[in-house]
Amino acid sequence: MLDGKTKTGPMVEVVNVTCGYGNTVVLENVSFSVARGEVFFVVGRSGCGKSTLLRNMIGLQDPRAGEIRFDGQTLSGGGQRERRKLLRRMGILYQSSALWSTMTVGENVALPLEEHTRLTRAEMRELVAMKLGMVGLAGVEGVYPEALSGGMRKRAALARALILDPEILFFDEPSAGLDPVSARNLDRLILQTRESLGTTIVVVSHDLESICTVADRVVMLGRDEKTLIATGRPRDLAGESENPHVREFFQGTMTQKAKEV
C-alpha cells in the first residue's frame, strides 16, 4: 500500500486521549495529529507516559477516554475484520525488537506475509530477502535472533515491520541499548524509509540526537503536567519555548551540538 500519499487528511489523529494503567492515569487530554509522510516524534523524560501513549496508539490498550484515528478510523471502533485490516497497515518496531525467538530471522520477517497475504513460499522468500537487504542484513534468513547483535536485531525487526509496506511505522525507543554509531545508522534508516516508501513515521524517544536530526515535528509530554507541554519543530522548541522543562530538555541537545562543532 504505497498509495498513501495520494489521500488527504492527517494520517493519525489523537483526540482528547486520556490513558493510564492500573489505577494511575499518566496522560490526560492529549491531542495532536500526524500528517502523511511526516517523521513525528513523541518525546519526554522517562516516566512521562510516552510508552503508554504508544501502546494506546497501536491498539494494545484502549484509551480511557478520547479517540485515536488512523486515516479516519479507530482500532476499537469496527469489528475484528476492520481491526485486522487497520493493523495490517501499521508496522511496529518494539524497544526490545520482539523477534520471535523460536523462529529464524527469515521466518520472523515472513510471518506477517503468511498471516495477511496469499503469496507462495517462493514469493515470500524473495520479499523477505529484499527487505532484509534494504536494512542491510542480506543473507541472515536462516539465523536465529539470539545469534544477532542488538543493532542487527533492531534492523531485522525493522525489516519485519516493513514487510507489509505499512503506511505508518511506529518506533518505540529505537536507539535504546544501541551504541551511538548503530543508533545513528538506524536514524538514517528511518529517513531512508520515509524517502523511499513515503511512510508516515511516529517515533517515541528521548534520544536528543535523533530528535534533532530526524524529526520533522515533535510533541513533548510532561511528567507532572500529564499532558502535552510543547508542539513544534525541534529547533524552534529549543530556543523559544516558554516552558522551562521544554527548554531544559532541548538545551541538553544544543550544548551537545555546540560541543560537536
Binding site: 501502546r55 497501536i58 491498539g59 481491526r83 493493523l87 518494539y94 520471535w100 498471516e115
Partner: protein, 375 residues
C-alpha cells in the same frame, strides 16, 4: 588507630567525641555504647553534642553513628549539635535528614485489617475463576476460528511441541512408571503372600497402573516438565514484547501459541499414558516373575484376565482431560505472567501447582463418575 568514643555528661549536656579511624569493615561503636557509658545519668541529658574534630579516616560507618545520635535526640526531643564535622560528612548528613523527612511524609504501608484480607482473598479467588472462564472461552473461540482457517494453524509448532513434550519425555515417564509398577508389586506381594495368593499381584498391579497410576504419573510428570516450560516460554515472550508483536499483527496469541500446544498435549498425554501403562505392568512383571517366582506365562495370563478394555479406556479418557488441563494451565499462566523474571518464575510455579491440583481434582471426579457408571 582504633575507632573509639568518649562520652561525658556535664550541666545536662551529653558530649560525645569520636576518635580514631572509622572504617565499615571494622566493628565501630554503636550509639548504645554511649548510653551504656552514661548509664544512670541519662535522665539529666538535656542536649547532645557530637564532636568529630579528632576523627581520623572515616566512611559511612561514621555517618551511621551520627545518624544514631540524631535519631536518639530527635526521639527524646532534645537538641543535637554536631561540631567540627568534616565537610563531606555534614553534607551527607543533611541529605539524609532531608530524605528522612520525605519518607515520614509519605504514607507508610499500613497493615490490612483481618476481614479486609479475607475479602481480598475471596475477590482474588473470584477473579481467578473469571480468568479461567475467559481463557477457556477464548480457546473455544480460537478453535472455531481454526476450524474455518485450518490452513493457518501452526502445525509445525504443534509437531515440535509433540516431540518436546512427548518423545523426549519417554525416558523419564518410562522410568517412573516402571518403578511405580515395581513398588506396587512389592507392596502387594507382602499382603498377598500371607494368603499364598501371590498370583493376584498381577491383578492388583495391572488394575492400579492402568486405571490410576499410569494416567496420573504421566500427567504429573508432564505438568512439571511441559506445563512449566509452556508458562516460562510464553511468560518470557510476554516480557520480550513478542506477544505484543503478535497482537499488533492481528494474530491472536491463543491461535498462535495456545492451540498448537493444547493439541500437542491432547495427543501426546494419552499416548504417553499407554506407554506408561505398559512399563508399569512390566515393573510388576519383573517383581512377580523375578522375586515371587510366578511363571511368566501365568503372570501374563493373569494380567490379561484382570485388565478389561474398559479399564484401559477409562484411564485414557482421563489422560485426555489431563493433557488439556496441563496445556491450558501452562499457557494461561504464561499469558498472565508479569513482565519480570520473578514474574515468569511465579508463572511457571503457578502453572505446575494449578495443573497438579486440577489433575487430582479431576481424577477424584472421574473416580466417582466411573463408579456411578459402573465402568
Amino acid at each position: 588507630m582504633d575507632s573509639r568514643i568518649k562520652a561525658e555528661v556535664a550541666n545536662g549536656l551529653l558530649r560525645v567525641t569520636v576518635v580514631g579511624d572509622w572504617p565499615l569493615e571494622r566493628r565501630v561503636p554503636h550509639w548504645k555504647e554511649v548510653l551504656k557509658r552514661i548509664r544512670g545519668r541519662e535522665g539529666w541529658v538535656k542536649a547532645v553534642a557530637v564532636d568529630a574534630g579528632e576523627v581520623g579516616e572515616w566512611d559511612t560507618s561514621l555517618l551511621l553513628f551520627l545518624i544514631q545520635a540524631n535519631d536518639y535526640s530527635a526521639k527524646r526531643g532534645i537538641p543535637c549539635r554536631m561540631e567540627r564535622l568534616p565537610e563531606l560528612v555534614r553534607q551527607l548528613l543533611e541529605q539524609r535528614v532531608g530524605d528522612g523527612a520525605a519518607k515520614a511524609a509519605a504514607p507508610g504501608a499500613s497493615r490490612e485489617p483481618f476481614f479486609a484480607a479475607i475479602g481480598e482473598r475471596f475477590l482474588a479467588g473470584q477473579r481467578g475463576l473469571v480468568e479461567w472462564a475467559a481463557f477457556l472461552g477464548e480457546c473455544v473461540l480460537g478453535i472455531c476460528r481454526m476450524a474455518v482457517r485450518w490452513r493457518k494453524f501452526r502445525w509445525m509448532d504443534s509437531f515440535s511441541t509433540m516431540q518436546q513434550a512427548g518423545a523426549m519425555a519417554l525416558p523419564i515417564v518410562g522410568l517412573i512408571s516402571f518403578l511405580v509398577g515395581l513398588i506396587l508389586a512389592y507392596q502387594a506381594a507382602i499382603q498377598m503372600r500371607q494368603y499364598g495368593a501371590e498370583i493376584f499381584v498381577a491383578n492388583l498391579v495391572g488394575l492400579s497402573v492402568v486405571r490410576e497410576m499410569g494416567p496420573m504419573m504421566t500427567a504429573v510428570i508432564l505438568a512439571g516438565r511441559t506445563g512449566a516450560a509452556f508458562a516460562a516460554q510464553i511468560g518470557n515472550m510476554k516480557m520480550n514484547e513478542e506477544i505484543d508483536a503478535l497482537e499488533t499483527l492481528g494474530i491472536q496469541p491463543i491461535d498462535f501459541l495456545v492451540l498448537p500446544r493444547v493439541l500437542a498435549l491432547l495427543i501426546m498425554v494419552p499416548l504417553l499414558t499407554v506407554y506408561a501403562n505398559l512399563l508399569g505392568v512390566l515393573g510388576g512383571y519383573v517383581v512377580g516373575v523375578g522375586v515371587l517366582d510366578i511363571a511368566p506365562s501365568a503372570y501374563w495370563f493373569q494380567s490379561r484376565e484382570a485388565i478389561d478394555v474398559n479399564d484401559i479406556a477409562s484411564g485414557l479418557i482421563k489422560s485426555v482431560t489431563f493433557g488439556l488441563v496441563i496445556a491450558a494451565a501452562g499457557c494461561m499462566r504464561g499469558l498472565q505472567s508479569e513482565r519480570s523474571s520473578a514474574g515468569v518464575g511465579r508463572a511457571a510455579t503457578s502453572a505446575v501447582v494449578t495443573a497438579i491440583f486440577l489433575i487430582i481434582v479431576l481424577d477424584a471426579l472421574f473416580a466417582v463418575l466411573f463408579e456411578q457408571l459402573g465402568i
